[in-house]
Symmetry: C2
Amino acid sequence: MGLLGAIEAGGTKFVCGIGTKDGKIKERISFPTTTPDETMAQVESFFTGQEIDAIGVGSFGPIDPIKSSPTYGCITTTPKPFWSQYNIVEFMKSKFNVPIGFDTDVNGAALGEHLWGAGQGLDSCIYVTVGTGIGAGAVVNGQMLHGLSHPEMGHIMVRRHPEDSYEGTCPYHADCLEGLAAGPAISHRWGLQGVELGKDHPAWEMEAYYLAQALMNYILILSPQKIIMGGGVMKQEQLFPLIHRELRSLLNGYVQHAAIDSDIEQYIVSPQLGDNAGLCGALALARLALDEV
Amino acid sequence: MGLLGAIEAGGTKFVCGIGTKDGKIKERISFPTTTPDETMAQVESFFTGQEIDAIGVGSFGPIDPIKSSPTYGCITTTPKPFWSQYNIVEFMKSKFNVPIGFDTDVNGAALGEHLWGAGQGLDSCIYVTVGTGIGAGAVVNGQMLHGLSHPEMGHIMVRRHPEDSYEGTCPYHADCLEGLAAGPAISHRWGLQGVELGKDHPAWEMEAYYLAQALMNYILILSPQKIIMGGGVMKQEQLFPLIHRELRSLLNGYVQHAAIDSDIEQYIVSPQLGDNAGLCGALALARLALDEV
């Protein structure tokens, strides 16, 4: 059975892997994200000589995932030094003569969960990551969501918690969702890393308030059939029941559906692919690239 | 050329029409929405004897548009007397032996604009109506957006304007978008109907603040290629430049795309089908129902 290559291109580290067409990871390697020259040389070295049919890249963003665009394949306006306007697809094509898939890490993760994880058998799902930043990808009618570009759901505006006076970390919007609820906001606000806060610290109620607001808006705008929440902050499993309760309180009976009324524990869930969600997402992008040839 | 029937089923009035498969309305009639018995008898009488190949119903909501659901075809939890749980598709099928299309009025309008109006040639667009209520429908990858159910974009949470102390009209959420920015909120807040307020009344700055926040969230979550804004409130054309300016200010350069940076007047527009957007939407639903046979 042919194998596929996968690159989870993160702002902090790159994970490269080899896997099967049904989503099983056989081999992986990880290294820090430094400069494009250095990091991509490590990527090249990992895949050189491997017998693979396609490679998928799930990348940090913003990126240009629109195939008809002149800048398709680029990481676009990142503040990360050296990576702005870097075309990762062009590099991969110059080195490997196989189809290259490319999308945001979170669109990839949504597709991976749709194919092999918590979103199997559904028409739609979203994958939300809450970690150093907040991002989300979506599958709608079985396809990854694109339009003008890709979703940037982490930067929506939210209403402030009445007891929160923290100014927010987002360089663009200060107190958008990411600015108030990503990992750095938690640690700056409370003076401790999330992992150092007790499970019953008031930080988690506030965090759930912001994340539930975001989910409310995602539900009212996209109506996904499943919401999958991963990333470092979501390792705090006490957040799930808090989010479930807060979301029901915010919606206040407006969306009447069993998924919310009685089955919310099965509606808003952890990635079924666990810590492989990102790498399997890139594998899913490779499979899609192969299917599209 | 075969003709199609269209029903724009609104909470205040029903509009029925006959049109062509390329979106031209040939004949129309309108009557107030009273009880289902009375109103649907008028619908039946209008279409009886007409030579039509399919009928589309674009309905006020919430509705159940999911074909596999046992309550498909129903208006679900409306507070409007007598209409809750009324199955409009079942009634139409019992009277007319043609395919019946059914969706929200705004999903229909998005499809109509996608086929024949401002969204032609694009993969995606959203249609937002701002009137007695606020609602929006979406076309994604050429198909109307469904998932758990249909979008309910009018009820997203927004951040309050610093000078607004109005409590909001929404019976579920008080001060969600619809509660603060639909027509009734404008008239209750200012003591005058929107049409009675001057073009430079501060009401419009506040209205633009709320609508731009909503569009920011729609863009960050759905990334539509075009935003079409109709409904009674959007007849106040001075709102468009105010919304354009406020949206750019809120996004603050985060989404870098020509549609927003330089062509925003062509990105956020009035319905190209004008006052026919709703009825043409229902016609588009009829065409879709015929295509799906």
